[in-house]
Amino acid sequence: MRDVRVFYRKKGAMKFVSHLDMNRFMTRLINKAKIPIWFTEGFNQHAYFNFAVPLSLGFEGQYEVLDLRIITPDYSNEQLVLDLNKASIPDIEFLDAKEPILKMKEIVFAEFKVIFDELNVELAEKINGFFAREQIITQKTTKKGGTKDIDIAPLIKKWVLKENELTLILTAGNENNLNPNLVLSTFFESEKIAPVDYSVIRTMIYDKNLNPFK
């Protein structure tokens, strides 16, 4: 029995598959691909696998991570990727499989590319101004249903605007996950401008030292 970390890309129609539905999708894909996966024991037996940080509905993901537990020792990582791709659809493409080095909870940052359909100079200046602020206050709904003000500036590790592409490195993981949609909506609201259309790609996830998560 050994653990394997699989890297894949999620795009096209799969962008509309929610995290919950992804679970069901993967279960079936693993069955279909006949992966020698370990099943949990007990009353409700199920294939054992784990996703890294969930991807929001509508986002493309280029560095998605899934951990599997394999029972057949001589089943190679190359074969695993091959079998998964053979069973899969083009919108989920498996890239690589490796032995896990870090633990899932060591994911600290995620990198996003926000691509605006159109971006004029005026808007670009406003974006630059927005991210240069020391404090970026937004409202968050609390568990009790109310709202509270939070400052998201410390959660924004890096931002670069180049032409119509905004690269963001944001805090990710279980505790302080920052969604680029929240960043953008905060921007539009605080600048009092009508939202413009954009698409989002999650390009990478990192550990605390900004090394790619492995």
């Binding site: 096209g12 129609a13 799969m14 962008k15 509309f16 598959v17 929610s18 539905d21 069901r24 999708f25 279960t27 079936r28 894909l29 693993i30 069955n31 279909k32 691909a33 006949k34 099943f39 037996q45 199920h46 294939a47 509905l57 509508g58 069973a87 899969s88 659809i89 919108d91 359909d117 259309d197 698409s199």
Partner: protein, 614 residues
């Protein structure tokens, strides 16, 4: 509309997975390399349509041919429809996202009457004129199949061709004929005339209906060479019949989200209220070897970890024991759960019982349909009180604490005594539970009883019977409520307005087409969804068209009255239905097909149960 705009739109509606396409096993072809494009439309939501076995069979079968590309279309939910209309997006097929107006065929499957407004809405969203007469060669042919076709007269104005019975063969014969006609310069009129000669093809525009002064039908006359009666088609040999080796596996959760394996068609029972029990006759089984290998193949190609067996009454399958023995072997090995319907397990071997004990059990359900043995005899429902009580007893002793029972209200000959019987049966189950020395400790029992309003359907012995009136129903409901004295019984009685409309359309004629169109124009759609159903609009539509719905549903029909569906031949003869109706009124049951043939007429195909060795 470009990809990006489409994606943005999807993100603005509920459940974008309904419209995105791209699922595992969905079929993509090069449209320049096919001769016929077929839009298979299910006039309800994705979740319901994707659960439907008939659609999966035909989708795979059509696509198994290189010259046909069959794609799926579902009724967009109201939020997405709004966006489509706002952005001028015509109804598109999920696979190619092309507008279905460009297709050769638009085919609907009609599973229940309450989907008819969705059919009209989908035609409109596709950019087609609603009426068949207003569509010339420029437009796709609009065809329809499914159980409602046994009386699809209310849709006669809108559909070019109906397919009677099972579609596997007849649909392809019509597609082939279409290809021939296309080669020599297509004329819709000529094509329809030629198609009408194929058995199982009903072209409603080739029939003239005349009415008597009292509103009943005087005659139905074929025009030209159209046949006088149209006979349903069946597949004779189920072992060699096409069955999909894969299903499209949805991203979002659908109603029946599992592999489904058909074991037989038809039903030997002949419950007198059940349309399916008559229109799918005769029973034709698959051999257990075929069922087993098809089921295994399906699981392998879909990755589903759950499979169920499909038929009208799986415990009547003759080879159930060898089938389960074989299936349990590979399902258990591969962590696939086999969903078993409530089976009669009295004559299973110890060994099999032992194996089944490990299978996840579904809830305990019964459908006695009526509260007294007398009324169960009237409807020919072969379930006795002793059976229900003894099965419940075993189940309770095995740890079950709840049971669900289904009944109908307003059945022919029903009296208050019969309604009281429903309450009494529930009470007996409750009392039995508490009398058990080894009942589950510290838990109370819950008996839920669901009571629907009876809808008389064509091609059943009750086609001659009226439905009860709304007033009568309310009185009966109140009476039944008053009979229940314990809180352990949870009684649910459906809102019945849809049942009344269902009865009208089930037994309706062509004149209802106008009502349908008017109701649709007033905004009626998704009528089977309580949140969408608008009875006031329907009432307005009836009165504006000068049509009294009660004429169709509340009237006892004489045996010799010409019914709107009498020119359709579903193999069960009207004489047989009349015989059965008389037996019902004499509280007399009819043995099932395997006990004794009742000469219903379905032996005309030379297939199935009628020729089994007994």
């Amino acid at each position: 509309m470009n990809e990006k705009e489409f994606e943005r739109l999807l993100l603005s509606v509920q459940k974008p997975g309904r419209y995105s396409g791209g699922e595992i096993n969905s079929v993509i072809k090069d449209k320049s390399k096919v001769d016929v494009r077929f839009a298979f439309c299910f006039p309800d939501t994705y979740e319901i349509g994707m659960s439907h076995l008939g659609m999966k069979i035909l989708y795979s079968q059509f696509n198994s041919r290189d010259d046909i590309w069959c794609e799926r279309v579902f009724a967009p939910w109201t939020d997405f429809e709004e966006k489509m209309r706002e952005n001028n997006i015509p109804l598109f097929a999920l696979e190619s996202r092309d507008s279905i107006k460009e297709f050769d065929f638009i085919g609907f499957t009609l599973q229940y009457e309450m989907c008819y407004t969705n059919v009209l809405n989908m035609l409109d969203l596709a950019g087609l004129p609603l009426k068949a007469l207003d569509r010339d060669e420029k437009y796709p042919l609009v065809v329809a199949g499914g159980p409602c076709v046994c009386n699809a007269e209310p849709l006669a104005d809108f559909i070019d061709i109906f397919f009677l019975g099972e579609g596997e063969e007849v649909d392809l014969e019509v597609i082939d004929l279409y290809k021939e006609h296309k080669k020599k310069g297509f004329s819709k009129v000529e094509f329809l005339k030629a198609a009408a000669k194929i058995e199982g093809v009903y072209v409603p525009s080739l029939y003239e209906v005349e009415y008597l002064e009292d509103g009943k039908i005087k005659s139905v006359t074929p025009k030209g060479n159209a046949p006088k009666t149209i006979k349903k088609r069946i597949i004779g040999d189920m072992d060699t019949a096409f069955y999909p080796d894969k299903f499209v596996v949805p991203f979002i959760q659908i109603v029946h989200d599992r592999a489904v394996q058909e074991v037989f068609r038809g039903c030997i029972r002949g419950c007198r209220f059940c349309q399916a029990g008559f229109i799918y006759r005769p029973v034709r089984e698959k051999s257990y070897e075929v069922v087993n290998s098809q089921a295994k193949c399906l699981c392998e190609n879909t990755g589903y970890d759950e499979i169920s067996l499909s038929s009208l009454s799986t415990s009547d399958y003759r080879e159930l024991e060898p089938l389960l023995n074989n299936m349990l072997e590979w399902t258990q090995e591969n962590h696939i759960s086999l969903a078993l319907p409530s089976l009669r397990i009295d004559n299973f071997s110890e060994e099999l019982l032992e194996k089944i004990a490990h299978v996840r059990k579904s809830g305990l359900t019964f459908a006695p349909e009526a509260g007294t043995q007398r009324l169960r005899d009237v409807i020919n429902k072969n379930v006795t009180e002793e059976e229900i009580l003894s099965t419940c007893k075993t189940a309770f002793e095995g740890g079950y604490t709840s049971v669900k029972l289904y009944f109908m209200m307003g059945l022919p000959t029903e009296t208050d005594e019969d309604l009281k019987g429903i309450a009494e049966l529930g009470q007996k189950i409750v009392d039995m539970y508490y009398s058990l020395p080894n009942k589950p400790k510290g838990k109370s029992v819950s008996v839920s009883m669901s009571v629907a309003v009876f809808v008389p359907k064509p091609f059943t012995p009750f086609q001659f019977e009226p439905q009860i009136t709304k007033e009568e129903m309310e009185r009966k409901q109140n009476y039944l409520k008053s009979c229940i004295t314990t809180r352990k019984i949870d009684l649910s009685m459906h809102d019945s307005s849809t049942s009344f409309l269902e009865a009208v359309f089930a037994k309706g004629d062509r004149r209802l087409g106008a009502v349908l169109e008017s109701a649709y124009k007033k905004g009626c759609k998704f009528d089977s969804w309580t949140e969408c159903f608008q009875i006031e609009k329907w009432n307005e539509a009836f009165s504006e068209c000068g049509i009294d719905p009660d004429f169709y549903s509340l009237r006892t029909r004489d045996y010799d009255e010409i019914n709107p569906w009498d020119h359709l031949d579903y193999a069960v003869s009207k004489e047989f239905l009349i015989r059965e109706n008389k037996l019902a009124h004499a509280d007399t049951t009819t043995p099932n097909c395997r006990e004794k043939c009742s000469a219903c007429g379905a032996n005309c195909y030379g297939e199935g149960v009628c020729f089994e060795r007994r």
